[in-house]
């Protein structure tokens, strides 16, 4: 195990591994980690993936990232432009394979909250809004939720507000779609009969006990749970090169 690897890079690599070759993948706003994960996947195991940028470029020759995930420079040498409404049409056709979504809260059933903390009528905290979550969570074959601060304030028994639909808030037809949650401590999925969140991989330097302690509900553990695969030096170099300004660290402050 390699504890010296920066958490962001470990997360980015784990997110990249969720993309299969020939997948069509979209990232949204405020998404340095997804942008880097998609870039790593293309340069490693998924050379034939279709990369749709939130900045609307298709398969750009991305050379660096910026504070905005919609920065038009992210479209460098793209092969085409593809608008978000077109990507959403693709999703309604079931042809958007993977989407990356953020969350302020996630619960045991995979529900996410990006709307508000506290009460709807007068929220304690007004969150920025659900963006694509309520639309894409149920209908997308694979949604990867990333969380940079794994704590029991984020991983809660039940979210204050269901923005993105977990397994207990979606129709049978959509229960087949996959949710993967990747945090700064672990890679989690719902591959068990109860569709309850379980640890699939624990990051190097972290124990299952530590992860469970920092989770606000009884987090399950997959029978075949194992350590999160560490990125190779080439991958680390690629990430460092594309994110020379350390934008990816902003979510960890």
């Amino acid at each position: 195990m390699n504890a010296s690897i920066e958490k962001p890079d470990l997360m980015i690599y784990a997110m990249a591994l969720e993309i299969e070759n020939f997948n069509t993948v979209l990232h949204g706003v405020s998404s340095p980690l997804p942008v880097l994960a998609m870039s790593v996947a293309r340069k490693t195991h998924a050379p034939d993936m279709a990369y749709i940028s939130g900045a609307e470029g298709v398969d750009p020759e991305l050379d660096r990232i910026y504070p905005s995930s919609f920065d038009a420079r992210l479209n460098r040498n793209a092969v085409a432009y593809f608008g978000l409404h077109e990507a959403f049409d693709l999703a309604q056709r079931g042809e958007l394979d993977v989407m990356f979504l953020g969350a302020a809260q996630v619960d045991r059933n995979g529900n996410t909250n990006l709307s508000l903390i506290g009460d709807i009528e007068n929220p304690k905290v007004q969150l920025p809004g659900g963006a694509a979550s309520a639309f894409l969570m149920p209908i997308t074959p694979k949604v990867v939720v990333w969380v940079t601060r794994h704590s029991n304030r984020v991983f809660v028994e039940e979210v204050d507000f269901v923005t993105g639909q977990g397994y207990n808030h979606r129709s049978e037809e959509y229960k087949a779609n996959e949710i993967v949650v990747i945090s700064n401590l672990a890679v989690m999925n719902f591959k068990n009969p109860q569709r309850a969140m379980q640890i699939q991989h624990y990051h190097p330097g972290h124990t299952i006990e530590e992860i469970k302690e920092n989770t606000g509900f009884d987090l399950q553990v997959a029978p075949d749970a194992s350590e999160t695969p560490a990125p190779t030096q080439d991958v680390l170099d690629l990430i460092a090169e594309i994110d020379r300004d350390g934008v990816r660290l902003s979510e960890f402050h």
Binding site: Y81, K124, G129
Partner: protein, 273 residues
Amino acid sequence: MKKVLTSLEEAARLVQDGDLVTFGGATFHRAPMEFVRELVRQEKKELNLIDREPAMDFDLLIGAGCVAKVRTGMLAFEVFGMAPNFRKKSEKGEIVTKEGACQPIIAGFRAAAMGLPSLPVKGMLGSDLLTISEVVGSQTEIKDPFTGETMIAVRAIEPDIAVIHAQKADEYGNIRIEGPFYEDVIKAKAAKKVVVTVEELISNRDIRKMPEATTIPHFIVDAVVETPKGAYPCSCFNYYDAAYDHIKAYLKAAAQDQFDQYLDNNVYRRAIA
């Protein structure tokens, strides 16, 4: 073709207090910021703002007290964090904001652009956002008449006015957007009135040399204003990048209760005593 060239001041007068308003661009890119600053200078009130993923354009108007209601898919400052004025005033209950999903906003604009009262979408079911929207009356469950599939009908969103910042236009209102379009073409078709601020005017002769480059044709545009740097501090593809330092300074001012000073220096451009 009718000439539609006018001044920023005149164009901003097309916005009435209480209007449902949308802007072109997304987050820090091609937002019509100079037009937004003019709205603040003209002290518009009770505006009802709607957009998929706005940022500083909405937050500035909120901070300046021009806004009564906001509907967005997400309103934040990307990796810089929360939209300060939006967060403050919505938590104080000074502005109404409830819904927060991109697709119903995009689909609502598309319905209006297509001349339809509503448009069906997938997803949404099971989200508390749908419950809110059903109460608000912007979305409702339907069954498809052919397949019986449960769909969400999204009510058309027809803004009173859409304001877009583009790269080029001629004096008749033939608009060229370069790079990403976002929902700008859809918004132009959906809105009752359309104002376009542009980096530069080009001749109708030049427009005719490249009809495929015209993104919005003249007959849906009501006013064109030559506004160089009109998106600043947001980016305008092929002209300038986002001024991230300015945006950070904006956030700093808001965080340190110096927002009025920010307005003085950057919007009213008053000398401070």
